[in-house]
Each structure stands twice: as C-alpha cells, then as structure tokens.
C-alpha cells in the first residue's frame, strides 16, 4: 500500500504538467464602456477568458462606490443576466474573483479532467453583499459562474486572477514585449517571465506569430508538437492551418520537436506558431467569424495535450477619400453590418486651425472650415497609419487574439493615402514582424494615376466654380500654410492625366512593388447617372449660372461631362486610373461618391448597397491574397 501510494505520487510528479508560476489578472482597464447600465455586450475576451452576462462599465457608481472599471450586470441593463459567467480557454488554478454586489451571490464552477469531461461544483456558502473576494479551492477550472437571483439584482466583477495549469498556453509576443527586432526573442528566460499577452489564437494573415509555452517535466525533455486541422487530422498545409518553428527559426512546418530548457518557473519548451495565410479556405469558411486548429503536444513519456488555437479574421479598416469622413461608409452594407468582420473606420476630417494662407486663396470663412481631408497624401498618411495600427491593437484586445495586420478597404484618395503610408519609415515596424500593418488593400475608385479634373479645379479659369464648391465644403487646394507648416493640398496631389502621364509628385512616388496585395475596383457611369445634370432648380444649374464661362461649370451637363476625361469614368476618376492600368473589377452605372448627388449626378455611388461593390468586397476579403483578383 505504501509503495503503491509512493508510485502514484511519483507518477503524478513526473507526468502531471506543472502549474505556471505567474498569476494572470483581468481588471477590465483595457475596455471601454458607459458610466451607467446600458445594454448587454457580446462576451468580453481577455487573457484567453470569455466573460459574459453583463457589460463593462467605466466611471460608474456600483454598490454606492465609484469604480474606474468593472464588468457588471443589473436588472436595469437591457439584456443582462443575473449571472456573470467566465469561460477559461484552458484549465486554470488559483482563481480569485473580486466582486461587489447589492445582494448575496452564489458561486458555481466546473473543473475539467484529462478526458475533457466537466465536473460541476457549487460552493455551499453564499457570498455576502458588498465588496468581497471569491477564492476557488480547485485547480483545472474551466468555467465559473457568479449568480444573483434577486429581482433587483446588481453586481459586478472588478478583477479576476488565475494561473494557467496543465495545458500549454499561447502568448502574443507583441503584447508581451517579446520581440527582438522584428522576430520573436530567443531569450527563454524573458518568455518564461511573461505575465501578459495570454491569447486564444491568431489572426490569419500569414504573418502573425504566437509563442506556445509548454510546461515540461525535465530539462531536455523531448516534446513533439503537431498542428491538427479542424477535422482532427494532422495538418498537411502550413498555408491553411499555420505552421511551427523553433525560437530563432524561420522555416515553418506542420510538426516540430523541441527540447525543454531550464527556466525560473521550471522546465519549459517553446514553439512559435505562425497563423494561416488566409482565413477562408473555401466557401465553407465564408460564413464563419473564427475557425480553429489545435496544437498537439506530446512530451516524451508524458501525457498528450491539445491546445486549441482560435484562427480569426484580420480586422478591416475603411479609409475614406477626398472631402469625405467616416460617414462616407454609412451605407456600405452589407460589409459594415456583417458580424463576421471586425470593421473600423479611419478618419482624417478634423478642422485645420491656424490657417494663414492657401493657394488658391479663399475667403476667411472657407479658410476656417478647411478639414484635413482637403490636405495631401503626405500630411494624412502618418495619421492614417497610426489609426490602422491602433485598430489592430484594439482588435487584439477585443478578440483576444494576436494580430499584426489589417485588411484595408479604401475609397478614392484613401487608397492613395494607404499607399503613401507604405512609404513611411515606420510602416515596416518590428511590431508587425517587419511586414507592415496592411494585409490586403482593396481600393475602390482610387485615382492611382490621378484625374484630369484635379488640374481643372486648380486652374485660374475655374475660380468661380472652385469658390462655389468650397462653399459646399469641397475645398480644392494646391497648398496650405497653417501653424507655420506648408503642405500640399489633396487636389494638387491628385493631378494626373488618368492614363499614367502628368502624375503629381505624390502619385509618382508610389513604389512599384508593395509588401501587400492589392485589388483595384473601378466604377463607370452610364447616361442614367448624368441625366440629372439637366435640372433647372438645382445646384448644377446654380453653378452653371453663377460661373458661366468657367469650363468646369460649362461642362457640368449630361452631354459634356465625359469630355473632361476622354475615357470611361465614375464622374471623377477615369477608368484606367482606378485600375492603375492593370486588370481589376469594373462596375457600370455608378458614380464616384454620394456627395455628387447634391451636384445632381444620379447614384448609386460606388459605396451604396445598390452598386453591390460592398458585397464584392466581402468576397475579396474571403479570397486568398494569392487569388486572381489580387496584384
């Protein structure tokens, strides 16, 4: 009996995976929220845990005391539950939950055994109203529920701390500051000391990497790791399922064997997992928000474990164009309402202050209303790049996955600004593994080769038309001086014949090859889009009457407008320019922007649902960047 017990203890010591020494803590400081109860949110994902049932509040008074941030629920919150549930992505121990409640609360949790079965436990005592802490006595915990059955329930979680047990964990090296240059560090002591960056997976962009941190029994223990696809079979495709490499490695494979090393918490092994090249592998994936692979870990002489890796879509960032703003995409359905995609909007439409002069000149009231969307590529590209990087960081937090790239959907000049961002020294930053933050670039009606109407707008014989358009908010600038800075105007940067000649310096500076793949979408008008120009009591007529003699005003008729371009166009951008003199996707019967409808062109615009371009963009976001539509 004694021998048997000794052997059992020895076996547990040898084969059971050790507990990582570091505690992880979720405190909701990284989440936005209102100051009073509002409505239930989708589950909050943090440190590979999912918290659901309520919403994040910030600056709220809960149980009579102000709280900076908390995850809370109440009978006053629409759709909120009397239970807050926490689902851990892996087994955890040392769980401690700080709570505040108007009423006593009940605590339930579930542990998971090595066969994956869950065992429910309900703590016998009810935890007192007010502030308190719940400490769970078990390890291998996968779920915790705090319940309050009062009709006027109101309670909140302020923090959750835990330690990962038994299973390997995934660490985002960007968040955990585990990069050396543009690669994951080879310093195992630093990785073993990481207390941040615990994630559930990675965005499928072919670049994002995570570290699989594996507890081992002994130093030098051989540990085999294999990527298992979502059919439960060993992966045969690094492209579809992602791949593995050792610290310092650069060749990614579906299987890998590494040796455990000595670290302060104990023996551990480390493997880098790089995400698949594309989220969608075919139509079956197109309707998914996430998919999974698993990393099967087989320690020599130990127990096989499987770590699930969430494969997520890269976030999507919309970039508007000249004289536009975030609302330019308000009708860009179905993409903006498709919950499979995380869509954000970059904006450069802030009012420019301290304007001392412009070329051409305008009235002082126009000068005081100039927005950044009238300024050139070089002025706006750094800000848009900062926003793209920030949206990726926000996505990492909200989706609890590693991500370093976004898919960019750019309208009009937004495509030129995105390409200008690629010229900035900060573009290929270490935080993107040196690859830059753009995964796919989808341009819609972007004047890659400029547009003749840009030079027309700046011509002296169109002064009246330029001033009338400026009153409408469409301010054509060659240059602007403000707060001691002189910079080019957007319209100046957009000058070009539209066929590839007479390019502005800004357009001519684009790199012929870019570290991302691009799709070109172009619109063209039909006579139906121009017939509205024949109106009488309208803006087009006002322009023609006020500015008779200005070529732009004279050309603003159904019969003359196309003569400005000499080729098919979307009312602003020539076809060749939108396609960058390459192949692309063409849509007929559309105009450049809905804003032109106030000048009596007839929609739909390329960003209206009726154009169906938004539906096409979803197809392209699903398409692999090696697909035929991408250059």
């Amino acid at each position: 009996m004694r021998i048997h017990s000794f052997l059992c203890v020895a076996a547990v010591a040898l084969f059971a995976s050790p507990v990582f020494a570091q505690n992880h803590r979720i405190d909701f400081d990284d989440f936005a929220g209102p100051s009073r109860f509002d409505a239930a949110q989708p589950p909050v994902l943090a440190l590979s845990a999912a918290i659901s049932g309520g919403e994040v509040l910030r600056g709220a008074t809960i149980s009579g005391a102000p709280r900076e941030s908390a995850y809370a629920t109440s009978h006053e919150c629409a759709g909120c539950s009397g239970e807050i549930s926490i689902h851990f992505h892996q087994r955890v121990a040392n769980v401690q939950i700080s709570y505040v409640s108007q009423q006593p609360i009940e605590v339930r949790y579930a542990t998971e055994d090595d066969q994956g079965s869950l065992h429910d436990v309900t703590l016998p005592e009810r935890f007192a109203a007010g502030s308190g802490k719940v400490n769970l006595p078990d390890r291998d915990i996968r779920q915790v529920t705090l319940a309050n059955d009062a009709a006027d329930f109101e309670f909140a979680i302020e923090a959750i701390s835990f330690a990962a047990t038994s299973s390997p964990v995934l660490i985002d090296p960007v968040v955990a500051n585990l990069l050396s240059g543009s690669a994951v560090t080879t310093n195992t002591a630093s990785i073993a000391a990481a207390t941040t960056g615990l994630v559930a997976g990675a965005a499928a962009d072919g670049t994002t990497q995570v570290i699989l941190r594996i507890p081992a029994s002994t130093v030098s223990q051989s540990i085999a790791v294999a990527v298992i696809n979502d059919q439960g079979a060993p992966s045969t495709s690094v492209v579809n399922d992602g791949g593995l490499t050792a610290l310092g490695g650069s060749t990614f494979t579906s299987t890998l064997t590494v040796a455990a090393v000595s670290t302060t918490p104990g023996p551990e092994a480390f493997v880098i997992y790089r995400a698949p090249v594309n989220f969608s592998r075919g139509t079956a994936d197109n309707s998914l928000t996430t998919r999974t692979v698993s990393l099967q870990v087989t320690p020599a002489g130990g127990t096989v474990t499987n770590t699930t890796v969430t494969v997520a879509r890269p976030p999507v960032v919309l970039v508007h164009g000249l004289w536009g703003n975030a609302s330019s995409f308000n009708n860009f359905t179905p993409l903006i309402t498709d919950t499979n995609f995380n869509v954000s909007r970059a904006v450069y439409a802030n009012t420019i202050t301290g304007v001392t002069s412009t070329t051409p000149s305008f009235s002082s009231s126009v000068d005081s209303s100039i927005e950044a969307n009238s300024l050139g590529f070089a002025y706006n590209a750094p800000g848009v790049l900062t926003q793209i990087n920030n949206f990726i960081a926000a996505y990492r937090t909200s989706a609890n996955v590693a991500a370093v790239k976004a898919d960019i959907v750019a309208h009009s000049m937004g495509g030129d600004i995105s390409r200008t961002a690629n010229l900035l020294s900060s573009f290929l930053s270490p935080g993107t593994f040196g690859a830059g933050p753009i995964n796919k670039l989808i341009t819609i009606a972007t004047p890659h080769l400029g547009t003749p109407v840009a030079a027309d707008l700046l011509a002296s014989n169109n002064t009246c038309a330029r001033n009338v358009l400026a009153s409408d908010g469409d301010i054509a600038l060659q240059s602007i001086t403000f707060s001691g800075t002189t910079t080019d105007g957007a319209v100046y940067d957009l000058e070009g014949s539209g066929t590839g000649s007479s390019l502005s310096a800004a357009l001519a500076s684009f790199k012929p090859t870019q570290p991302f793949r691009t799709v070109y979408i172009a619109g063209t008008t039909t006579s139906a889009n121009l017939k509205g120009l024949s109106c009488l009591f309208c803006a087009a007529e006002a322009l023609r009457l006020l500015c008779s003699g200005n070529p732009l005003a004279s050309d603003l008729t159904a019969s003359k407008w196309n003569s400005v371009y000499g080729q098919a166009n979307d009312t602003i951008v020539p076809l060749d320019s939108a396609l960058n003199n390459l192949t692309g996707l063409q849509y007929s019967g559309v105009i450049h922007t809905a804003a032109l409808e106030t000048l009596d062109f007839d929609g739909p615009s390329v960003l209206d649902p009726a154009s169906t371009i938004s539906t096409e963009v979803i197809i392209l976001l699903n398409e692999a960047p090696t697909g035929t539509d991408f250059h």
Partner: protein, 223 residues
C-alpha cells in the same frame, strides 16, 4: 421708366462701375455687397426643418444663390414670382428670402451656408452663416476606437462619438456642439474639442466623452 426704377438703375450702375474699378483678386470676396441677415449665427435647427434665410444684397449683384455646406444643397428663392434658385440684389433693406431644407439624413454639427453672387466686377461671397444641426438627445452613446494604444509620444488618434436615439436611429455625434471630451490625465494624453487625442507621455489614462448627460469612457495607453 418710373422714377424709383431710374434711381435704382443709376445706383446699380454706379455700384457696378465702382466694383469694376476695384476688381478683386481671384478667389477673394466682396463680402460687404452681400450679407446674410437672418437667422443669427449658430441658430439651432433639426433634421427635416425648413429654414428661411434672408440675404441682403446690393443692386449690383446680378445673380445670387444660397449654397449650403454638404449635404444642405442650394436654397430655393422664397420671394419672387416664380420658384427658382437664383435671386438678385434688391438693395439694402430689401433682403431676398431663401428656404433651405435640412436633410433628415444629416449628422449633427455646425454647417455653413454662404450666399454667392456675381456682379459685373466679379464674384461676391457673404460671410458664412453657421447653422447648428442637432437631433433630440440620444438614449445611448459610445465611442470608437474602443482602445487608444499609442506607441509613440506625439501621435494623434481621433475619437468618434456615436449615439442611438429613441426612434431607433443612430448617428455620429462627434461634431455635435453638445459633445464634449475630457482626459482624466492630460499628462498622459490630451484631447481637443474635436476629439483628437494626442499622446503626451507614457502611462495610462481614460478619455471620457459626454453628450450632454450621457458619458462613455475609453482607455488610453501610451508606451
């Protein structure tokens, strides 16, 4: 020709001659010839309203239109025999009246309306009238991005404020005059009245937006 018509013709001719003598540089304006007299600057209007705007224009203004900042469009002439968009100067004390329809699909915020005219001496333009377009108070507000993560001091990120309304609609409120922004710690990050957040020094803080009684906070990290 009646006496008052002769006087008006003479006045118009003299002013036109004066205008020719002082032809402005391209793009400049002769705002003294054209003035929006009502409503007052900053007048609050609602989406769907029809606003009557009075424009006082000198006799020398031969063509006159009222141009609203997108998406307001052009004003319709209210005074006069026939409907139209083009008026003309009637002299001091006889303002032309235009109506301007505020679209129902318009974001709250300040919009400019300008009277633009043409004289024999060139283009003339009034000082812009500002209209404050506001919707009823929202029932809920939120802000984007959900997190501001700066990797460099000096970088700037704009915050967008959005609101949901009792009628089920939602709209951007960033430029609403009822929206305000505040940083909990300006030594870490500042925010201006337009919602542009600037990273000042490493640390953590929050940006709180209000409109007007509702508030929403987003976390800020500066590395």
């Amino acid at each position: 020709m009646r006496t008052n018509q002769i006087v008006r013709w003479l006045s118009s001719t003299l002013i036109s001659l004066a205008a020719i003598a002082f032809i402005p540089a391209p793009g400049s304006a002769q705002q003294d010839l054209l003035r929006i007299t009502s409503p007052g600057p900053g007048s609050m209007v609602r989406p769907g309203d029809t606003v009557t705007i009075s424009v006082s224009a000198d006799y020398s203004v031969e063509k006159l239109a009222l141009i609203g900042q997108h998406p307001l469009g052009v004003g319709m002439v209210l005074s006069g025999a026939a409907p139209g968009i083009m008026g003309r100067g009637l002299g001091e004390g006889r303002p032309m009246q235009f109506t301007l329809k505020i679209p129902t699909e318009i974001q709250p915020g300040i919009y400019r309306v300008t009277a633009i005219g043409r004289t024999s001496g060139g283009d003339v333009e009034s000082e812009a009238l500002t209209l404050d377009v506001e919707k009823p108070e929202p029932t809920r507000i939120w802000a984007e991005p959900a997190l501001l993560h700066f990797t460099r001091v000096g970088d700037q990120i704009p915050v967008r404020v959005l609101g949901a309304f009792a009628d089920g609609s939602s709209d951007e409120l960033t430029k609403s005059t009822r929206t305000s922004f505040q940083s909990a710690n300006p030594r870490v990050a500042t925010v201006n009245t337009s919602g542009i957040v600037t990273a000042v020094s490493p640390g953590k803080t929050t940006i709180t937006v209000r409109n007007p009684s509702l508030q929403y906070s987003i976390p800020v990290r500066v590395e």
